[in-house]
Amino acid sequence: MGTSILNIGASGLAAAQAGLLVTGHNIANAATPGYSRQALVQATNSPQFLGGSYFGQGTNVSAVKRIYSQFLAAEAASAQSRVAQLETHSGELAQINAVLADPNAGLSPALQDLFKSVQELAASPASIPARQAMLSSAQALTERFRSLDTRLDELREGVNAQLVSGVDSINASAREIASLNERIVVAQAVAGGRPANDLLDQRDALLAELNGQVRVTTSAQSDGSVNVFIGNGQPLVVGVQASQLRAVQDALDPSRLDVAFQLPTGGAVPLQESLLTGGAIAGLLAFRSASLDSAQNALGRIAMGLAQTFNAQHRLGQDLNGALGGDFFVMPAAHAFAAATNAGSAVLQASITDATLLGASDYRVTALGGGNFSVARLSDGAIVASGALPAGFDGLSVSLASGAANAGDSFLIQPTRSGAHDIALAFTDVRAIAAGAPLRTQAALANSGSATISAGTVTSVTGLAGAAPHIAVPLTLTFDAAAGRFDLSGALAGTLAYDPATESSGKPFSLAALGGFEFTIAGVPADGDVLTISSNDNGTADNRNLLALGALQTARPLLAGNASYQSAYAQLVSEAGNDGRELDAALAAQRSLEQTAHDALASVSGVNLDEEAANLMRYQQAYQAAGKIIEISGKLFEELLAIAR
């Protein structure tokens, strides 16, 4: 009986000591990330049947249990993965927003400066300093385009660098999880299937870290290991084997890296972006395809639209040397890439037919075999053209430059990606600014009638020589009163009907063969009165073309006639801003979800120091009490010896 009391006391002492150990462990790890509190699983020993009754035999510690909920942990990991994605996307997008909408660093001030300098030159069109000012502000505008584009390129490089480090971190986590799997399997086998709590916590922390990079799914195995899958079931960790991911260059676009699954055989299979649904990696990919590409394309589109429309008007003018104006900006080119994996040799050529009709999307061309292709717009997936090349769509023309394509070959068309980078000034000679118009009009001084001819507008360069004089012989309009018409002679032959009785308030004419010249005749000409249209030689004080260039500022030449340069840019800013706002709202919502999930998990698994303090006292008292039992058992034995003595 005495032995039994001693044994009971000893078992209580041992259990209380174990309890103190577990409590101490909990206290020590209260601040360890990913730590799940542990609890003692204590049970009574099998009772002994003695004298017709069962007598308890004390206590034993059956296990140290990890307080943990698989379900809540999965919830928390999923929420955390989504938060990491949104945080990354929103953080990167904020950088675009900061650059675009800055009142000093954005495109707007540079654009306004250009038109300001155009207007200032219009006040004194022959002034060399004013011409230099206009060239300088145009130069500043191209620099601004380029610096915005460079900033976006830096973000793209940043995405690549983060993808590389993200993939490295995934690989490291995967290796550690595999090695923890191995240790857990061994440890639990040795312990007869009892959980290796701290190793499990370590593995769960690694899984959480992995989820921060990319969303993974896990499946627990009976031996204690977990298998980890990525994407649509690519095994990242199976038992003790870890696979590897790699950041590889995109087959179509060499400037971007993709996440690929490394095959044991050596190759790598790119994981589709849509399969990577959470974590920082997904945030980076989403930022790149949803925000960065479209912002850079939209910026390039503005640059190309500006170059095309400004050039078109500038070419209708006459420079200080008397020559017709040339291009003002270098028109950026569209780019086409063939996939590195293509079996055929086809090289595609993309060219801009009308920059004002361009969209902000890239296009994927797929060879269908037999010389046929299909062109898909990446922004909405619509097939915009199919059949043999060349194909024209969205202000763009795609043709086969050389070679032949095999069925399944694919190509990427980036019409506007490099627009903002490639726009540049076409000349540096201040005299080459076409301020005037190439033609001028005059009513002969000897006219006795009151006919006047307007200054007129040149709408094309048809029939105009590049250098002065643009028309060798002036066009003379001689009024024939009897026939009610002007007879043309000189540069053109023919007649223009004009009835002074009804049309003296002004009748518009257009000469398609002569610069598409549009002018108005008004007043009452006398018979034989002469009006002339001649080359504007020495017309250095003429500012008509500058006024036309200046009018482009408020015209709506872009987006198929729906947007001015400024409003196209404002649209870009507002789109990026709206995206940022949506992301911030989604992030705030997701953060509170994550907080809830995290709290729910912490509520189950976390350590409460007050609780541990209470446990400390409980086990301490239990220990003291068990000690007393042993003491009493000793005393009983003494009593027994005293009786015998």
Partner: protein, 406 residues
């Protein structure tokens, strides 16, 4: 719910961070004075602010263009006023030259004055702006618009180009004048028709400028004198340029100073003095002459003047033609000045509107993107207070521990 120690710390820290972030945002708004720190703060307002900024800049540029236009017009006006003074003084000299008692040398000295006036007028017409560009040569800023001399005549080398400036939305205001319009498109005579005496006239007949009674038909009339039985008589040839037909009427008896009706009385001219047989006077539609041609004719007539009766009549006829054209020139310059004046008035009106718009744009922009300091600072204080409360309560809650009592 079971609360864990790390929850107390994590939640507390997260709350503090959230509050700090709001506080920082408000602080940045106050520090920069901008409500919109990035486009994401208010995408619609950000885009609208960009558009408004452009509108404000365009308005500012139009104000600058108005100033440039005002300067250019002011310069042109100064030279027009100079030209007007010259022509007015020459008109006075021409009236003086009409005095039949002047001697040959008096006429020569008037001719000398006119030559000086001619040179002065030429200088006005060839005026340049601050850049050395000619004011009145149309588009050809580097081409001297008027060149020539009294004897050789003056040519206009410029063109009809008129430079405009963009002074308001869809308003390109002309800020220059073509020299042809100001100096070279003078309608001689009375604007409808001009009278002239043939250069070979030998009598003392002087024709006046004529009188428009009903409406001029555009025909050319030639009045030819002959020695009739009872004194000079004349016949009239009526030439219609539209048909090329000519009809003759007369002879009629001549009475000095009596109106001679032409074109069925639509116009009438008066001849005074005694025309000799064979003397001819013509009436033709007004043509366009330059002020320099007109002055040149006057100077040459004065230079060639003789003091006999026929000579005085030739001078009187020549000066009569010139006076009509010169008052036409003055009208041309006056109307050019009026045009300049009305454009400057227009600029003033536009500048007033532009000034208003400037204020309006500034206030709209300010509403969109500037921070409301009263609101922002009270928000800052509120956020500061709540952050302090969070900090204090965090401290208190985290200080609670059972271990303190162990």
């Amino acid at each position: 719910m079971r609360v864990t120690t790390s929850m107390i710390f994590d939640t507390g820290v997260a709350t503090l961070q959230r509050q700090s972030a709001s506080l920082l945002h408000t602080q940045q708004q106050v520090a920069t004075g901008r409500r919109l720190l990035t486009a994401a703060d208010d995408p619609v307002a950000a885009a609208r602010a960009l558009d408004l900024t452009q509108a404000r800049e365009i308005n500012a540029q139009q104000l600058a263009n108005q100033d440039a236009g005002r300067a250019a017009l002011g310069l042109a006006e100064a030279h027009l006023t100079g030209a007007q003074d010259v022509i007015e003084s020459m008109q006075a000299r021409l009236v003086q030259a009409g005095n039949a008692t002047l001697s040959r040398s008096d006429l020569a000295s008037i001719a000398q004055d006119l030559r000086a006036g001619f040179a002065q007028l030429l200088a006005n017409a060839n005026a340049t702006d601050g850049n050395g560009d000619y004011l009145f040569s149309g588009y050809q800023g580097r081409t001297r618009p008027f060149s020539g001399s009294v004897e050789g005549g003056v040519n206009y080398n410029g063109d009809d180009g008129v430079r405009a400036l963009h002074v308001a939305a869809s308003r390109d205001l002309p800020v220059s004048l073509s020299g042809a319009d100001v100096f070279a498109r003078i309608r001689d005579g009375n604007g409808s028709f001009a009278t002239a005496a043939a250069s070979g006239n030998t009598g003392s007949g002087v024709i006046d400028g004529g009188n428009l009674v009903a409406g001029y038909d555009g025909h050319r009339y030639t009045i030819t004198f002959a020695a009739g039985g009872g004194g000079p008589e004349y016949s009239v040839e009526d030439f219609d340029p539209a048909t090329g037909a000519s009809t003759s009427s007369g002879p009629f008896a001549y009475t000095a100073g009596a109106p001679i009706p032409l074109g069925s009385g639509a116009i009438e001219v008066t001849v005074t003095g005694t025309p000799a047989a064979g003397d001819r006077f013509t009436v033709a539609p007004s043509s366009q002459v330059s002020v320099f041609d007109v002055l040149g004719r006057a100077i040459q007539a004065l230079d060639a003047a003789t003091t006999d009766a026929a000579g005085r009549a030739r001078l009187a006829n020549a000066l009569g033609e010139v006076r009509g054209a010169l008052s036409g020139s003055l009208d041309g310059i006056l109307s050019a000045r009026a045009a300049v004046g009305s454009r400057m008035t227009e600029i003033d009106a536009l500048a007033a509107t532009g000034g208003d718009l400037k204020v309006r744009y500034e206030s709209m922009l300010s509403q969109l993107q500037d921070v409301d300091y009263a609101e922002a600072i009270s928000r800052l204080t509120q956020q500061q207070t709540s952050l302090e409360a969070a900090q204090k309560s965090f401290l208190q809650v985290t200080q609670l521990s059972l271990f303190k009592f162990l």
